[in-house]
Symmetry: C2
């Protein structure tokens, strides 16, 4: 087994034992990238010598953080002090910030090796797509906007990567690429230094190849209640779990394979002894998808005004429309959308502790063909607006042999408990 | 009259007419700074030649923005691509970012001359204080955390300056220094590139010496409904206004001079023909001050984790305590505080259009003596959590001859209407 094949959690254990070095793991990832990236095109910036120097620095460190020696890919709209951050925009080619984004600085502080920058949809939003292809079929999208991060982890090029989610930009690509991902409770991970799109929605997320990988990153960010004094998960067994299956207000937009994946995940959990119940969301949730759209467009007005004034001609028409409020969003619509979101957050949190987690689609189906259509975020955007933690879990394959995942969702600030549930349900759901 | 004595709005008119150049105005401000800053110490970074070069660039511009030629001070925790941003932290001395903060980029895009960086409380939060002194009495604080910005505008050193408000960091210093200030609706001005403290609270604000100065900046940010096709305010006359006087849940913390200022402002408005009514906030507001404290401390955990890991010894104990959750804030307290804030936002917005604006204290009293105590933010923090627009208006003097202001407050997204009200009530309230 080559080091690049290790999950982050398995590699972390070897690095702790001293049977693997950060440099050896980094070199193995670089070799895998050299082999695979001409097709997958996950990376928008990669300086192998810089990565090896960073790994050697980590190998010299006397204090070992929770991410000690683990290579990490960073979505190219998150600032890095030692690499450019282009946002996949012609405006920012070659731009280099003076300091790391908060999430990058924290990962470095915990010993991660920042491997390189991964390609993204322009400003993690619209406009130009990433060049990245799905590792399972290069004719298909890996999803977006965290295209490169999801594909790089799925393709064995790096064990961990940062994405962001404003609509469905972290969880959906995980489903398309057959990997694990976490979008934590909004605001618990400082998103400073990731390009602003919508302050109410923008959330740093991360990819791994096992639930334990996701936990490592959650530990680095010191999420509420994440400390496990004995180092072991504190969760229930699968037989003690009560899972709510939630079709949500957009079930009619789920393809057959997405519907099947949800039913299959539920059946597998039931067969393993969990209590699985259908869950209907109360009436206000009928408006939640529209509320997310209003917040996204309304907050987008101010998010791209700087670029609109400084580099109008280089700014994609998608963003010019937002600044000019093409959608005619009013302040009163904004306040209404915020109010509805607040109401739904309270209603959703109140489902716990009746349930341990909610099981719901991670994407509308298999990854679409081509590069332009990065998939429908409709099965993610409501959870982003609700600010709740979400974990993507691979489940099955669709009619074209492409991965189809599901996600589990918890209440706000229930990130640690949701990781406990993921550790128990993932081997049951991800069973192919 | 020297150009530095002009309000931003008056200077903008002369710049438009061509009777004043950006360079002449900038040189006049620099001369005033040279005279006054050895005492006031408002500026943490100032390169006169850079400022003059920037002014000459503006004088060459063919397109004229709404801030054309107006010098602007920038709080030293807001990024500038051509000047360092220290956050008044020993960690970031000399740090220079690759791009402007969004608010700085937008101001530049609209023709402002970025004059220099103004001193701030460390990370706009706690720890080290600014060196700045109150222009009305150098033995007293100008308030914080936007210490240098408020003092610079009050002292005639610059017509406009950016601050930020997370508790009371924009409005309170305005009251202490006897100037105008605006804290807009949360989120309508992109705060990207200003150091994160609390994503729910952090708001870019600005200082000027007249209500029309505040409007200029609001126009640059294209706030909702700010466009006035004929260029004239669309507001009511003072006789058509209905103003709610609000003591708020912390009235017992207002000094005699703060209580007097509020009563005086109300009487002046009544004498001018406005309808002025006492307003009691509903019961949930009793918890709003505590909710703001929980949000501030809970979100502070993640805000300073990067610095905690990278430069533990250089990080003030205030911030280490936050990262270590010294206050023992729980996720469930956080969700409760968010829920209460959401409820109160709905209740507050529902007061409009019954009222045109709410009149309430801007600070607990006169500026305290010394540099350490920058004043109590308790008359600001609830409005910051409510996300509503606030405008500080000078009113009277306290027992030590120091300025004491009041503020008017509107509903979320009512920024433009609140500016209309300010234009009408300011000459009545600010009458000494």
């Amino acid at each position: 087994m080559e080091p690049w094949q290790l999950t982050a959690a398995a590699a972390a254990a070897r690095l702790r034992e001293g049977t693997l070095t950060a440099e050896a793991l980094t070199r193995s990832c670089l070799a895998r990238i050299a082999e695979r990236d001409p097709v997958t095109k996950a990376w928008s910036y990669l300086d192998p010598m810089l990565a090896i120097r960073s790994a050697r620095e980590v190998d010299k460190a006397t204090v070992r953080g929770v991410l000690h020696g683990i290579p990490l890919g960073v979505k190219d709209m998150i600032d890095t002090a030692d690499m450019p951050t282009t946002h996949n925009s012609p405006i920012y080619q070659g731009l280099q910030q003076g300091r790391d984004a908060a999430c990058v600085g924290i990962a470095r502080g915990e010993g991660a090796v920042i491997l390189g920058k991964t390609d993204t949809v322009e400003f993690a939003s619209g406009g130009r797509r990433a060049l990245t292809r799905n590792p399972h079929d290069p004719a298909r999208t890996p999803g977006g906007s965290s295209s490169g991060s999801a594909a790089a982890v799925a393709d064995g090029m790096v064990p961990l990567a940062f994405g962001t989610q404003t609509g469905g930009s972290t969880i959906r690509p995980a489903s398309f690429c057959g990997v694990y991902a976490m979008k934590p409770t909004h605001g618990v991970v400082n998103s400073e230094g990731a390009k602003r799109y919508s302050h109410t929605l923008d959330t740093i997320g991360w990819y791994g190849r096992a639930p334990a990988d996701l936990r490592l990153v959650a530990e680095a960010f010191r999420l509420f209640d994440i400390e496990t004094p004995d180092g072991k998960p504190r969760g229930k067994t699968v037989q003690q779990l009560r899972i709510g299956i939630c079709h949500g207000p957009n079930w009619h937009l789920a393809s057959e394979e997405a519907q099947n994946a949800l039913l299959l995940a539920g059946k597998r959990l039931e067969a393993a002894g969990a209590i699985v119940e259908e869950l209907s969301l109360p009436q206000p949730f009928e408006g939640i998808t529209e509320a997310q759209r209003i917040v996204l467009l309304g907050e987008g007005r101010g998010a791209f005004l700087q670029e609109y004034l400084a580099a109008h001609g280089k700014l994609h028409a998608d963003f010019r429309d937002r600044v000019e409020n093409f959608a005619n969003i009013t302040g009163s619509q904004m306040a209404g959308a915020y109010n509805l979101a607040g109401d739904c957050r309270k209603l959703f949190d109140a489902l716990f502790p009746r349930f341990d987690a909610i099981l719901t689609p991670a994407a509308a189906g298999e990854a679409p063909l081509g590069r332009q259509d990065t998939g429908n975020p409709v099965f993610n955007s409501m959870w982003t607006l609700l600010h709740v933690p979400c974990i993507a879990i691979p489940c099955t394959k669709g009619p074209h042999g492409m991965p189809v995942g599901v996600q589990i969702v918890g209440p706000r600030f229930g990130d640690a408990a949701l990781l406990d549930v993921a550790a128990v349900v993932a081997p049951v759901i991800d069973a192919e």
